[in-house]
Amino acid sequence: MTISIWRYSHLTLAISSSIFILLAALTGIVLAFEPISNQLKPYAVKHADALSLSKTVENLQAEYDEVIHVEKDKNNFVIASVITKDGKNETFYINPFTAKKIGDIIEKAPFFKFVTNLHRSLFLKSTGRVLVGFISFLLFLMAVTGVFLIIKRQGGVKRFFSKMIKENFNQYYHIIIGRYVLIPIVIVTLSGVYLSLEKFSLLPSEKKPHDINEELLVGTPKIKVQDFSLFKTLTLNDIQRVEFPFSDAIEDYFVLKLNDKEWLVNQYNGAIISEKKQNLVALVSSWSMLLHTGQGSIMWSVILLLTCIAILFFMFSGFAMTLNRRKNSIKIKNKFSKDAAEYIILVGSETGSTYGFAKALYKALIAEGKSVFVSELNAYSSYKKAEHLVVFTSTYGDGEPPTNAKNFEKLVGHVYQNKILKYSVVGFGSLAYKGFCKYAIVVDSLLQLHQKFIPNLSLHKINNQSFDAFKDWASSWSKNKGLNLKIEKPVNTPQPKNSKLFKVVSRSMVNSDNSFLLELELAQKLKFNSGDLFKVYPKNEQRERLYSIGKINENIVLSIKKHEFGVCSGYFSKLKKNDMVLADIKQNKDFNFPVNVKEVVMISNGTGIAPFLGMINNQDSNSVKSHLFWGGRTKDSYQIYSELIDKAFYSKKLSGLYISFSKEESQKRYVQNSIVEKSDLISRVLKSDGVIMICGSIAMQNDVLETLESISESKLNRPLNLNQIKTDCY
């Protein structure tokens, strides 16, 4: 399948440099602690920056026999190299107010030395430094390609920082964190590259010698050093380093290194005899050094540390995503060529997951003895013998074609089709997106306008890769073709390896809606929450069944509707107390009760109430106000839930309960009707950043979302923020 050039380069860069980047990030984490620990040393003297140079020199000359130089290090500690009264040469930190020694120079710990060498040259000296500089540049390119990927995904530069929908943990945080550490990464990589370049004198260097004004080399008027007016105006804040004259000879002078220039100063009268400005290369070098190492700033060091950790996370999440995509892109080996096949299946997919469905249909058709050809939308071409066309496509971003479908629109206009084809389009997408199946709609209309295509079935949309919805489409499509297809679930469902035992505590009677409650006890300890899923594999079936869990008193409560021929629900409806059930619990963090919000609205119909029964009875959720909407057919339908709901209501864990019946004599109302009536409540919750949870049928979900959207538009003048909505519908 085609992948975009940006993603391709992003990935290639990552793979080719991964080991080095891993090493650099790990050593980077360690090295970030060096400047932090140095900064925490007690050698900084308060207000030293304001002390004048003349005072500092006076203090030093009074305290020592001779002064060689004074300098400020990256941590703003003052260092003096002196010859002490007993003739020893020593270098140490001083308090400039007294000129007394306050500590020995911090030695770079051998451990940090070792790690630094590993970080910058991998112990390979010059070769290593070239390599590391190059890898640093690759990381920079990754940041750049990453920016393009985000822009494309978000649908424009302006929306770079707009909210995104969390579908997948790795992907979501790869992007979220990527946006925040983008700037530090660019700084770290570019400064790293610069430092490497500098090593190899690849940068223009213009080291001009001082141009000494000979006329100023005079010993008169003789002024005491502490009386030099220049030294009086300069403070330690202006100074980086002062070198004292080597001897009494007039040719020897003070060297003053300031932040942006260097002065030579006559040692007898304090006149400036030469000035040299710092050049750009040196300036960039010193900034690169500071920015790359974090010297002198705890805050920046911490940012660098976090950046290194983020890089490790990018490696992990990036490779996890790639492996996942690999897994999803199921290769299909066509038995028939495009001109020999009667059935053509074209796929548009960004992540490759849609291929699974194409493969399922392909297999079923081959099993029926039909000739089929599967390809991607970008490979659209003429088909000599084809009679039927099926298009499976997802949508990228807000209605864009997925990468391997980008050229389809152009191709469909150019390619000449011999025969007339009957087509059907199936869109795959998520209701969480505004542009749900938008590109499938585009493909459908493109084909409709085309002379050589006649519609077969109307556009079919599938939410969250629901296999049932796909089966529905497949059965009506095959009926239409006079076929009897047996579609198998595409991905190899994991066999129930991790199954655990659960004991039946109680089961309610099956009510007039064919629904009942089942309470199960855990035979072994397991962590779970209301909203997680109970996973069962019915006998002789590959496909798992999922039920939303309500957690009450550490037990599992399921609300199950018995279907006439339902294998699973039939099995459950016959369970008796103390029977054992083999199943598993699947985490569903996206549908757990939210923390840190003020109010939660729970909306459900039918058996969708199960997770909410657990949530409203949860001890910990007292601080969150919760409101429950439920829609059922008749009053009798409500009976099996009433006890648990009353309990929550009387213990004040439930603030509001709104029930509607659709098949009752006295009222024919759906849950969305109650929502409209309570639109003030809904808008208040939306406004105060509360969360709305929806559980039940897809049809109900669609109606409810529409209702919520119109409430948001009319009361709050803004579109519904889907980040506030959590759904678990089937």
Binding site: N89, K125, F246
Partner: protein, 149 residues
């Protein structure tokens, strides 16, 4: 009594010299400068000063490393950061008085990472005269000046 004697002995026998090294305007990384004392046979006797603290590169200063690499005497106390082109450096070294006017020599070796190495950038015999002079260098060093304290 013994301590006093030792103290006296030390003071009497060594002199502290201030030593200024003025570099030429080479480009690239900072230079490594090693100041060593050579005996009358021209063999290394003692390392007086090491300019350049990245020991990864010491082995590039081959002549000296043959001496130091084997003995690995502790040179931490007499080590300073590298000097870059055009820069000057003042260090303080101690030389025993008995080494003056007795055929001993002082050698300044220089090297820059990935550039040349000068085994005897500056080298001269230690006499009461030479030690006061300004000595021109032949490599990365422009000149060296020494002054007794």
């Amino acid at each position: 009594m013994l301590f006093m004697l030792l103290g006296f002995k030390n003071k009497a026998e060594t002199t502290t010299y201030k030593c200024m090294i003025q570099m030429t305007n080479y480009s690239g990384e900072g230079a490594y400068v090693i100041i060593s004392l050579l005996n009358p046979e021209g063999k290394y006797e003692k390392t007086l000063y090491v300019q350049g603290d990245d020991d990864e590169w010491y082995s590039e200063i081959t002549a000296w490393w043959k001496f130091q690499g084997k003995r690995r005497t502790d040179i931490d106390a007499i080590t300073g950061a590298t000097i870059s082109g055009g820069g000057r450096m003042i260090s303080v070294i101690e030389i025993e008085n008995s080494k003056i006017d007795t055929g001993y020599k002082i050698r300044f070796e220089t090297a820059v990472e990935n550039q040349e190495y000068y085994k005897d950038d500056v080298e001269f015999e230690l006499t009461s005269e030479t030690i006061k002079n300004k000595i021109e260098g032949t490599g990365f060093i422009r000149y060296v000046r020494m002054m007794a304290q």
